[in-house]
Amino acid sequence: MVYGKRQSGGVSPPDGGWGWVIVGCCFMVTVCTRAVTRCISIFFVEFQAHFGADYSATAWIHSLVDCTTMICAPVGSLVSNRWSCRVAVMLGGLLSSCGLLLSSFITSMKLLYFSLGVLTGLGFALCYTPAIAMVGCYFRQRKALAYGIALSGSGIGTFVLAPLVQLLIEVYSWRGALLVLSAFVSNLCVCGALLRPITLQEDEEEPTGEARHRERWCFTSCFPSSKEYSFLLLPDFLGLAVSFLFLAAGCSLPFVYLVPYALSTGVTHQSAAFLMSILGVLDIVGNITFGWLTDHRCLKPYRLACYIFSVGMEGLCCLFTPLLRSFPLLVPFAVLYGYFDGAYVALIPVVTSDVVGATYLSSALGVVYFLHGIPYLISPPIGGWLVDITGSYTATFYLSGAALLASALILCTNAGIRRCHHQLTSGAKDTKHTPLPLSLPNQSDCIEETVGQAVGFASEETNWIYQH
């Protein structure tokens, strides 16, 4: 029998080689999704002029794209679990490219919400989570650095794409610009094609006999089984999830309200725009340097602490903002906030994979980004409402700071409780987290149905060959 002798059938994360190609692909995916989302706001003036809409109607488009990308993230991880990351990203690239293509020919604002907001957002969602999960499969020792580089795409992409989009609008008007942008976004298909699947060696011991692998071919059932999402019940993950809700509520506000706040304190338009540029550049720096720092042997066991530290620092920066009433005082705020914003963004997938393990990373990331979606949608309008009723930006920044500090506090408390709990029941459990059951549902019936072969395991093997 094959299985008695066979090794686990996977490899350990290469930490290099093709992994860097994957990092490059994830970088391009982040550029094509997050940076393009930010550049959509450049089209607002054109939409307002052409369709005669007002600012709030056009601002909904950006919120819709952002929100759809985040809320449909579980769909992305579902598709990548069912088929493969490659299929998910290529499909997403196709969908978002079609969405932008459709928008280029649109004749009314309402249809724009659908084509740009829903279709393109869904396409982005299908790409974003699988690409990030893939990086986690290919790296272990240098995971944080790899994520830092991959996720710096949003900052660098915005930096490069913003003037480019402006130029396209000047030369071709918004219709032509959307057309060219849709061709640019179709590069996601190239990135998807490069995402070579990898089977990982399982970390824990395996029961003898049964094959263990991540790839699943259950075409018969489209809904995730309960075991696939069993990580949701982990206390660590629950704490993380709640902290993400607060985090997302707090972190979007300063980006939206920094420029209006700076203008209200008397800073000129150009200086305010410069502050946003500082934020953007420090974001990139924070991504890469923090990722590199937390990969060091001395800091690796304290990655969660580093994450909590960066979120807490951001919260403190926000709380101090109402005291900063001039440009020279706002610059250090922009520097610190931008740096720690980049830092925690690079660490989100790392911290998640530390908690749930590489096996469930894809599904877990889907849930994590889903939890980002609703706060992203509702907290800027709430911030705006606070500005309207109090007449100043103090309350908004206090809200943001409080949400960020609450997020950090929840994680601290959770970690503290777990540590006490483990110390009390020492020796019985793993110090980090309860190991997840690695036995995925029995697939023999699914395989027989889909492949139609007689012997379950042998046919599994054949499929495995064709899969790779």
Binding site: V2, A49, Y172, R175, G176, V180, R196, I198
Partner: protein, 272 residues
Amino acid sequence: MHMFYIGDHCSTWTFKYDFTFLNEQLSDFALSVSKTLSTTLHTGESQNETIEVLNPIKLELECTWTGDQDKLPNITVYWMKDENEIENSLFHVLMCIRKCIFISQFLSLVVVSPQIGDVREKPIVSYVGDYVVMTCKMEESKPKPSSWNWYKKNGTDEEQIFPAEEPRYKIKNEDEKTKLVVHNLTEADSGLYYCGAVYAIATTKSPVKLKVITYWEPLKPFLAILAEVIVLVAIILLCEKSQSKKDGATGNQRTYRYSYQEGNSSVRQRKV
């Protein structure tokens, strides 16, 4: 004409301007538009001033010696406009030149209707068959025009656009801004358009350039990038397929794929 007797040295001159309505009976309306502008011309400097007014105005220019009152220089001051000395004229625009042996100072004054500040330099681009919206906006701080007109440049003339005659054009006027909407564009519609803010004194015109292109223009980079994507995807997938076939045929495993023990390879080849 004002005549001053002043001493040897002239250091600073103060010019004061006061605007009032021409018609004395309107003086009770006064001062919503009046402006007092005082500026100090230093020796040897010349100055250009542009003043925006709504209606014809009476302009008063006053030269005052602000130096030491004890040391009034002993020279004559003349008012001149464009090299001609003015004698009690009804000209509304006056210039002041101090005739001195070694200094001459002058002020050049242009009286215009309120100007439109931000002029869009790049052309507005639109597509054949689509519609385009061109806007003109008068700044908030400046007085609002009584109405707006639109003109199209035809050769050297500017023809006014009348929406009643040509239903393709629609003009939407609000107090401080105006929009011209042109439907069913053709390439002949490219060119220079002017929006005119109508004031009693004059109509301020501001140019807006329109460029109409066909869809082929952006399609060129679109198709180029799409071709690049298709070629790259085809190459990558073909490479992957050929390499997986090679692995299957020779029984070699790639390092990132399986690591099977030797005994199993024959079993696997049979399956393939």
